[in-house]
C-alpha cells in the first residue's frame, strides 16, 4: 500500500493547515476571539457549523488516497479511506435500479428456473438484504430490530461522549451530575444545541453503520452503483470546489488588490482596467470558453495521465482555477478599497516613520488586517460555488463525468422522473445532501458576516 497525494489533496491539506494556523492566531488575539465567540453564540450557527464540520471530515477521509501494490505492480487504481470504509458497496455490486432498502431489483428480469421454465420476476439483489433467508417474512422484523438496535446504540454512544466530556472538563465541571444534565438538556443556549446536534449525529452514524452493512440505504442507480456511496463521494467534489476556488483566487486578489491600493497611480489604473475587463465577460461564458480550451488541452495530452482518478483530479483543479479566475475580481475590489483605507491609517504612518520598508509595511501591517475579508469571502462564496458546480456539470463543463458529484448525479438522473414507476432516489439524495451542505453554509456565513460586520446587524 502506498499513499498517493493528488494535487487537490495537497491543496485541501494546505487549506486545513491554514485554517488550523488561523485558529491558533485567533486564540492568541483576544479581540478576534470575541468576534468568533459572537459567531457561535447563535444556536443555529452552532448546528450549521457542526454540519459543515461533518462534511469537511468526510472530505478529509476521502482525500487520503492510496494505491494497492500487493497484487499487481502495474495497478493504477487509487482508492481513498472513504472507499475502504464503504466496502463492499463502493464497488458496483448490483446490475440495475433498486429502491432504497429493497431486497429485490426494481426491474423485472427473465429468470431461468432450475426445472427449465422461464419466469418474469424481480430478482434478489446480490448485496441488499442478502442476509435474509426468506425475505417475505423476515424483512420487516429485521428492519424493526435494526431500528431499535440503532436507537440504543446511538444513545449509548452519545452518553459515552457526554461522560467523557463530564470527566475531562475539570475547570468548569458542575457540582453534581444532575446539575450537569440540567446544563446539557434543560438550559437554553448554544451548549444545549451542541449536544442535541451531536445526538443527531450519533443516531445518524449508527443508522449508517447498521443498515449500510445489509442494505442499499438510498437504493442503486441505473448501472447498479450504490447511491449512498455516490452521495458521500460527491461531498469531496462539492467541498473542494467550494473552498479551493477561493483559495486559488486568493493570491491574485491579494497581490493585485494590495498593490493597486497601496501604490496607486498608473499601477492602480492598470489593475483596475484588468479586473474591469475580466468582470465584464459574463461568468458562465468565460467558464465555458476556458473549459472548452481545457478539453482540447486534455485531449492533446491524453497520454500523460494514466489513471482515471488523477485525470479527473486534474480536471477538478482546472475547474477550480477557471472559476477562481472569474471570481477573484470581486475580492480584489474589496481588498483594494480596504488597502486604500489602511494606507492612510496612523499605524502605517508610524511604521513608515520608524523606517519600515514598503514591503515590510505591506506584509506586516496591511495584509494581516485584510484577513477578515478573506475569511468572509471564503465562507460567503462557498454555498454559491457548490450550487454552481451542479449547474456547470449539467452543461457538461463541470467536473469530469467519471467523478462523483451532485451535478453529475442530477445530470444522469434527470430523466428518471419520467420513468414509470418513478425512480426518485438518485435525485432525492443529491437534493438533500446538497441542501444540508448549502443551508448550513448559508446560515454559518450569515452568522460570520453579522459578527464581523456590525453594520448589517439588525
Amino acid at each position: 500500500m502506498q499513499i498517493v497525494i493528488l494535487k487537490t489533496d495537497f491543496l485541501f491539506f494546505l487549506l486545513l493547515a491554514g485554517i488550523f494556523l488561523y485558529s491558533l492566531f485567533v486564540f492568541k488575539d483576544k479581540q478576534l476571539l470575541d468576534v468568533w465567540r459572537q459567531v457561535f453564540r447563535k444556536p443555529l450557527a452552532i448546528a450549521s457549523g457542526m454540519v459543515l464540520f461533518f462534511y469537511l471530515a468526510i472530505c478529509l477521509l476521502d482525500s487520503i488516497h492510496f494505491k494497492h501494490l500487493a497484487n499487481n505492480e502495474k495497478s493504477q487504481e487509487i482508492t481513498s479511506v472513504l472507499d475502504s470504509l464503504f466496502e463492499p458497496i463502493s464497488k458496483q455490486v448490483e446490475t440495475t435500479y433498486s429502491a432504497p432498502f429493497a431486497y429485490s431489483s426494481f426491474v423485472k428480469e427473465t429468470i431461468l428456473n432450475d426445472d427449465g421454465s422461464v419466469a418474469r420476476e424481480f430478482p434478489r439483489l446480490k448485496f441488499g438484504g442478502s442476509h435474509l433467508i426468506d425475505p417475505e417474512s423476515d424483512y420487516w422484523p429485521d428492519i424493526w430490530i435494526s431500528l431499535i438496535y440503532i436507537l440504543c446504540m446511538g444513545f449509548v454512544f452519545w452518553l459515552v461522549l457526554l461522560f467523557i466530556y463530564y470527566f475531562f472538563s475539570y475547570r468548569s465541571r458542575p457540582k453534581s451530575v444532575i446539575s450537569f444534565v440540567n446544563v446539557v438538556l434543560v438550559s437554553s443556549g448554544s451548549f444545549k444545541v451542541f449536544w442535541v446536534t451531536l445526538l443527531g449525529f450519533c443516531l445518524l452514524f449508527s443508522f449508517l453503520f447498521v443498515f449500510a452493512g445489509h442494505y442499499h440505504i438510498l437504493g442503486t442507480d441505473k448501472v447498479g452503483n450504490d447511491v449512498l456511496y455516490q452521495s458521500f463521494k460527491s461531498i469531496r467534489t462539492g467541498v473542494l470546489i467550494g473552498t479551493l476556488t477561493t483559495l486559488l483566487a486568493l493570491p491574485f486578489a491579494l497581490i493585485f488588490g494590495v498593490t493597486a491600493g497601496y501604490f496607486g497611480g498608473w499601477i492602480d489604473d492598470v489593475i483596475q482596467f484588468l479586473y474591469t475587463t475580466l468582470s465584464s465577460i459574463p461568468g458562465v461564458l468565460l467558464i465555458a470558453a476556458a473549459a472548452l480550451m481545457l478539453e482540447i488541452y486534455m485531449s492533446k495530452h491524453s497520454d500523460i495521465y494514466m489513471s482515471v482518478v488523477a485525470r479527473a483530479d486534474l480536471r477538478l483543479l482546472a475547474l477550480c482555477m477557471i472559476i477562481g479566475i472569474t471570481s477573484w475580481t470581486t475580492l480584489c475590489r474589496y481588498v483594494r478599497a480596504e488597502t486604500l483605507k489602511l494606507r492612510e491609517m496612523d499605524f502605517v504612518a508610524a511604521a513608515t516613520a520608524l523606517g519600515a520598508t514598503k514591503l515590510r509595511v505591506i506584509f506586516r501591517h496591511v495584509t494581516p488586517n485584510l484577513m477578515h475579508l478573506v475569511m468572509i469571502t471564503l465562507v460567503l462564496d462557498f454555498s454559491g460555488l457548490v450550487l454552481a458546480e451542479a449547474a456547470l456539470s449539467y452543461i457538461d463543463i463541470g467536473v469530469d463525468p467519471s467523478m462523483e458529484s451532485w451535478g453529475n448525479m442530477i445530470n444522469s438522473a434527470r430523466l428518471e422522473l419520467a420513468r414509470e414507476p418513478v425512480v426518485w432516489w438518485s435525485l432525492g439524495s443529491a437534493f438533500f445532501f446538497m441542501l444540508f451542505l448549502v443551508l448550513a453554509a448559508n446560515i454559518f456565513a450569515d452568522s460570520t458576516r453579522d459578527a464581523f460586520d456590525p453594520k448589517t446587524n439588525d
Binding site: P282, V284, A289, L292, M293, I397, L427
Partner: protein
C-alpha cells in the same frame, strides 16, 4: 450629460478591445486551430490533410496576426485575428463551425430568450418588492425571522431542482401545461408560463433577502424618523418614503441586467426546450463550436458594458442628488 455619455462610451472601447484580444488569445493561441480540428475530427487517427481541409472550410488556415507573404492591407486583413476577432465589432459574427450563419441565428433566437427573461424580471421584481416590503414592515418580529429563514432555505436549493420539481409537479402530475417546447406567436404563452413561474420562484429567496436589507438600511435613516415624528402612519412611511428611496439601489441591480436579458438563461431554456440564445450557447458548448462561444462571449460583455452605462444614466434620472461628471 452628453459629454459624460461620450466619455463613458470612449472608456468602454478599450475594455471591449481587451476582451476581444483576451478571447482571441484563449481560442487561438492557447490551443492552435490544429488542436481544434483534431478534437472535432476525432483524436488519434487524423491525417494532416483532413485537418487542413477542416481549417480551410472555416477560414482557420490563415496566419494568426500577420500575413507576411501578402502585401498591402492584406497583411493585416487576411489573418485570423482580423477575420474572426476584429469583425465582431461590426457584428459580423461569421459562420459557426458547423457552417451556419451566427448573426442570423442570434437575430432569430434572441426573441424567445427575451420572452422568458423579461416576464421573469418584471414579475420577479414586483413580487420580491411586495414580499420584502411586507417582511420589512414586520421587522424584528416572528414574521420577519421566519421570512428570512424561508428565504435562506429557498436560496439553498439548487436552481436545477426548481426546474426538475416544477416540471414533474405541474407538467407531469397535474398536466396543466406542456413540459417543454415552444411555438411562435401567441400560442407560445402556454409554453412560457411554467419557465417564467419557475424563474420567478427560484430567484425569490435571494431577491427578498437583498431587498429587505436595503429597506432596513433606509428605515434607520433620519428622514424616516422625521416622517414618523410628523405623525405619518408606518404603512405610509414604508410605501411613500422608504420604497421610493430604496428604489435607487434596487435599480442599480436591475438596469445592469436589462441588456443581458437578450442572452437568456442557459439552464432554463435548455430544460424547457426553448430555442433562445441560452440553449443556443449550451448546444454550442456541447458541440464544441468555438465560433459561437466566441461570439457569445463578445456579445455578453458588450451587453454588460451597455448595462453599466445605462445604470449611470438612470441614476441621474431618478436621483437628483447624483451629478455625472
Amino acid at each position: 450629460m452628453f459629454n459624460y455619455l461620450l466619455k463613458r462610451i470612449f472608456y468602454a472601447i478599450p475594455i471591449l478591445i481587451s476582451v476581444n484580444v483576451f478571447t482571441f488569445f484563449l481560442f487561438f493561441v492557447v490551443n492552435t486551430p490544429d488542436d481544434m480540428a483534431r478534437l472535432h475530427l476525432g483524436n488519434k487517427h487524423v491525417t494532416q490533410e483532413a485537418i487542413d481541409n477542416w481549417k480551410f472550410e472555416r477560414g482557420y488556415n490563415k496566419p494568426l496576426l500577420w500575413a507576411s507573404e501578402l502585401d498591402g492591407v492584406k497583411k493585416i486583413s487576411e489573418t485570423i485575428f482580423f477575420e474572426n476577432s476584429l469583425k465582431l465589432f461590426l457584428f459580423k459574427f461569421g459562420q459557426s463551425d458547423s457552417g451556419r450563419d451566427i448573426s442570423f441565428d442570434i437575430s432569430k433566437r434572441m426573441w424567445p430568450s427575451l420572452a422568458i427573461a423579461l416576464p421573469v424580471l418584471i414579475v420577479g421584481i414586483c413580487l420580491t418588492l411586495t414580499i420584502a416590503l411586507f417582511v420589512a414592515f414586520f421587522r424584528a418580529t416572528y414574521i420577519d425571522s421566519t421570512g428570512v429563514l424561508i428565504c435562506v432555505f429557498m436560496m439553498s436549493v439548487s436552481g436545477l431542482f426548481y426546474i426538475i420539481g416544477g416540471q414533474y409537479l405541474i407538467g407531469k402530475m397535474l398536466k396543466l401545461v406542456p413540459i417543454s417546447g415552444y411555438s411562435e406567436g401567441l400560442s407560445a404563452v402556454k409554453f412560457l408560463i411554467l419557465p417564467v413561474a419557475i424563474g420567478v420562484i427560484s430567484g425569490l429567496g435571494n431577491g427578498t433577502r437583498w431587498y429587505r436589507t436595503i429597506f432596513l438600511e433606509e428605515v434607520n435613516k433620519d428622514y424616516v424618523r422625521t416622517a414618523r415624528s410628523k405623525g405619518f402612519k408606518e404603512s405610509q412611511i414604508m410605501l411613500s418614503h422608504v420604497l421610493r428611496n430604496a428604489l435607487i439601489p434596487i435599480m442599480t441591480g436591475v438596469v445592469v441586467v436589462l441588456p443581458s436579458l437578450f442572452l437568456g438563461s442557459l439552464i432554463t431554456e435548455s430544460f424547457f426546450g426553448i430555442p433562445g440564445l441560452g440553449s443556443y450557447t449550451i448546444e454550442a458548448i456541447r458541440a464544441q463550436d468555438f465560433a459561437i462561444v466566441r461570439s457569445m462571449v463578445f456579445l455578453g460583455s458588450l451587453l454588460y458594458i451597455l448595462g453599466l452605462i445605462l445604470t449611470d444614466i438612470s441614476y441621474t434620472l431618478v436621483d437628483p442628488r447624483v451629478r455625472l461628471n
